[in-house]
C-alpha cells in the first residue's frame, strides 16, 4: 500500500489574549491508499486542528506551525502557497464537517453549489458539471433527479444534508476525505447509514479517509487503524483491533474503561483530574498529572513513539519499559 498522507512531528500554536496556546505538540499520523484512519480523542485534544492544518485552513497570523511536516504523495504541503493549496482542496483532499447545515450555503440550490466546485477545479461546461453533480448524488445514495439538485439545504433532513456535503467533497474525485465528526449531529439509525456510506465509498471509489471522532464505537466499527490523541499529541497508534483489544497507553486504557458499554454505572471507572490548559501544559508527557502509572521520568521528558507490536506505536515510558527516558531526550 502506498503512503498517501504523512504528518510528522507537527507542532502548532495559537496566539490568544491569555497567551500562546500550544495546541499541537508533535502529531504523527499516516494514511495509506484506500485506508481509513480514525483520529480519536476528547474535546480539545487537537483532532480537528490536525485536520484543518492538513488542508491549510487555519487562519495565518493567529495559528502558527512551529515544527514538523505534512506531506501528501511526496509533496510538502507546508511549502505550498495559498493559491496552490486552494487548487488542492476539493480535488486531492476534501473535508466534510460535523454540522452540514452550517457548511452549505442556505441561499443557493445544492446542485449549483456542487457544480461550482466542479467548474472551478475542472474548468468544464455547465452541462458537464451538472452531469458530474448528478453522478455525485448517485454515489452518495441520493436520488439523482433534477428535483433533488434544485432543492435548498433546508429542504433536506440531517442525514441527507450530510450526504450532500459528501457528494460535494467527492465530486472532483478526491482520493482522500477528511471527515470531522461526520455523524455526531445525527441520530443513531441515520449515523449507521452514513457510516455505511463512508465504507461503501472506500469499497467502490477507493476513497481513503481520516475520520475524526470522539466516539470510540464509530472508530471501532469503521476504521482500519486508529490514532488516539490527548492534549495535542498522538499517544497511541495502530490497527484498530489491536489498539482497542490490547491498549498499551494508560490514557487509551482509561478512556476505554470509561465507556458505559455493557457495564452498570457502579462498575464504571473514571479518570481523575481534568484536561490541562494548553497555555501552560504539563511538562514532559502531558498526561502525567492524571496517569496512575506515572514514573519519575514522565514530568521531565516527552516520550517518543516506540513500536510495541505489528504497526502498533505507543508514546509512553511506562508502557514501553523505558525508565530513564534517555533516548527520548536525545531524540527531542
Amino acid at each position: 500500500m502506498d503512503e498517501l498522507l504523512r504528518v510528522r512531528g507537527l507542532k502548532l500554536q495559537f496566539r490568544s489574549m491569555r497567551g500562546v496556546v500550544k495546541a499541537l505538540d508533535g502529531v504523527d499520523i499516516c494514511v495509506h491508499d484506500r485506508e481509513i484512519l480514525g483520529l480519536v480523542g476528547e474535546s480539545g485534544c487537537g483532532k480537528t486542528i490536525t485536520g484543518l492544518a492538513i488542508l491549510g485552513l487555519l487562519q495565518k497570523p493567529q495559528a502558527e506551525i512551529t515544527g514538523g511536516e505534512i506531506s501528501y504523495r511526496g509533496q510538502d504541503l507546508l511549502a505550498k502557497s495559498d493559491r496552490e493549496m486552494q487548487d488542492l482542496r476539493g480535488r486531492e483532499i476534501s473535508m466534510v464537517f460535523q454540522d452540514p447545515l452550517a457548511s452549505l450555503n442556505p441561499v443557493f440550490q445544492v446542485g449549483h453549489q456542487i457544480e461550482d466546485v466542479v467548474r472551478i477545479h475542472k474548468g468544464v461546461s455547465r452541462r458537464e458539471s451538472r452531469e458530474t453533480a448528478r453522478r455525485a448524488f448517485a454515489e452518495v445514495g441520493l436520488p439523482a433527479t433534477d428535483e433533488m439538485l434544485k432543492r435548498y439545504p433546508h429542504q433536506f433532513s440531517g442525514g441527507m444534508r450530510q450526504r450532500v456535503c459528501m457528494a460535494m467533497a467527492l465530486a472532483c474525485g478526491s482520493p482522500l476525505l477528511i471527515a470531522d465528526e461526520p455523524t455526531t449531529a445525527l441520530d443513531v439509525t441515520i449515523q449507521a447509514q452514513i457510516l455505511n456510506l463512508l465504507l461503501r465509498l472506500r469499497e467502490e471509489l477507493g476513497v481513503a479517509q481520516v475520520i475524526i471522532t470522539h466516539n470510540v464505537g464509530v472508530a471501532a466499527q469503521t476504521c482500519d487503524r486508529i490514532a488516539v490523541m490527548y492534549a495535542g499529541s498522538v499517544v497511541e497508534e495502530g490497527p484498530v483491533v489491536e489498539v482497542l483489544s490490547r491498549p498499551r497507553h494508560p490514557y487509551t486504557i482509561a478512556l476505554y474503561e470509561c465507556l458505559p458499554h455493557g457495564h452498570t454505572a457502579s462498575e464504571l471507572k473514571t479518570i481523575p483530574g481534568t484536561v490541562p490548559d494548553l497555555i501552560t501544559p504539563p511538562t514532559g508527557c502531558r498526561f502525567h498529572p492524571r496517569c496512575k502509572h506515572v514514573l519519575e521520568v514522565c514530568p521531565t521528558a516527552k516520550p517518543q513513539p516506540v513500536q510495541v507490536g505489528d504497526r502498533h506505536w505507543v508514546s509512553c515510558f511506562w508502557a514501553t519499559g523505558q525508565t530513564d527516558g534517555a533516548d527520548s531526550e536525545a531524540a527531542s
Partner: protein
Amino acid sequence: MSLLQVDDLTVHFRIRRGLGKKSIDTVHAVDDVSFAITEGETLALVGESGCGKSTAARAVLQLVKPTAGTIRFLGTDLTDLSSRQRRKVMRDAQVVFQDPYSSLNPRMTVHDLVAEPLRAQAHMSGRELEARVLSMLEMVGLGTQHLWRRSHEFSGGQCQRIAIARALALDPRLVVLDEPTSALDVSVQARILVLLDDLQRRLGLTYLFIAHDLAVVESMAHSLAVMYLGRIVEQGPAREIFGAPRHPYTVALLRSSPSPDPEERGTMKVLEGDVPSAVKPPEGCRFNPRCPFRMDVCTTECPQPHAVGGHLVSCHLPDDFDTRATGSVVLV
C-alpha cells in the same frame, strides 16, 4: 408501589400560520403513552430526536399541558389541581437538563443557584441556608472554593454537578434527567453517571432518565420504554429488552449503535429511511414505512401493547417471529 403513573398521555401542539390565526396543523408529539416508575428505580425513555421523549418528561413536570391522559404523582392526580396545590406537589419532582450552560443563570453565583430553590420553596435563610448549600455542593463533589464563582468559570462536567446540586436541594423524590450527559466527553460522562448512581443509592431517588445513547441507558436503567414518533413501541425490564428485544425498531436501534468492542466488528446493521414528520404520522403502526417485516394490517391498524415474555410490545408480528434479521449488515 409506583411513584409516578402515567396513563394514555397525549400531547399535541397546534401549528398556527401567525399570531391569533387559525391553527392549520397538529404535531402529534406524544400519543397514548403509559408508563409507571417504581420508587427508587430508574425508568429510561429512549428514542431518536423527535420521538416525544422530552415532551413526555415535560408533561410529567407540568411544563406542558397534556392534551389528554392522566399523570399520578405520589398518589395525586396532577390534572385537576389548582396551581397552588400543584406547586406544592411538584416540589418533589425536579429536573436536570442537557446543557448546563443554558440551564444555569450565568449572572448568578453557585451559592445563589443552589440557594434559590431553598429560599423560594423551603423558606430557608441564614445559617441554616448556608449549611444546606454547602452540604449540597459537597454531595456532588464541589467545595467552598467554588461558592462564589459563576457558571462560565466551570467545565461542562462541573456545571452539570451544580445543576444536580440545585435539583436535589429540596430533597425531591423524583428527578427527571433529560439527556444529562449528552453534551459531555466520555471521561466526564463516566464521572457524572457514577455520581448519579451513587446519589440514587444513598438518597433512594427515583429517576426518569431521557437518553438517546443506549450504552448509557443500559448502565443506568432498571426499566426501559422505547419510543418512536410519539408512541411507546416496547417497554419492560431493561435487562430483558437489551437481552431479547422484540420490536423491529428496538432491534434496529440496538444494532445501529456502534459498539466500541473491536470483536463486534461487522455486527452493526443499517435501517434505511428517515423518521417521518410528526405532523402527518403514518397510518396504523407508525414504524411501518421503515419496517422490513411490514404486513397489510400494519398500514391500517395501530398495534396495541401486549405482553411477550415479561414485557410489553406494540407490534402486529406473531410473538415467536424472529425480528433479529432487521436491517442490512454494514460493510467492514
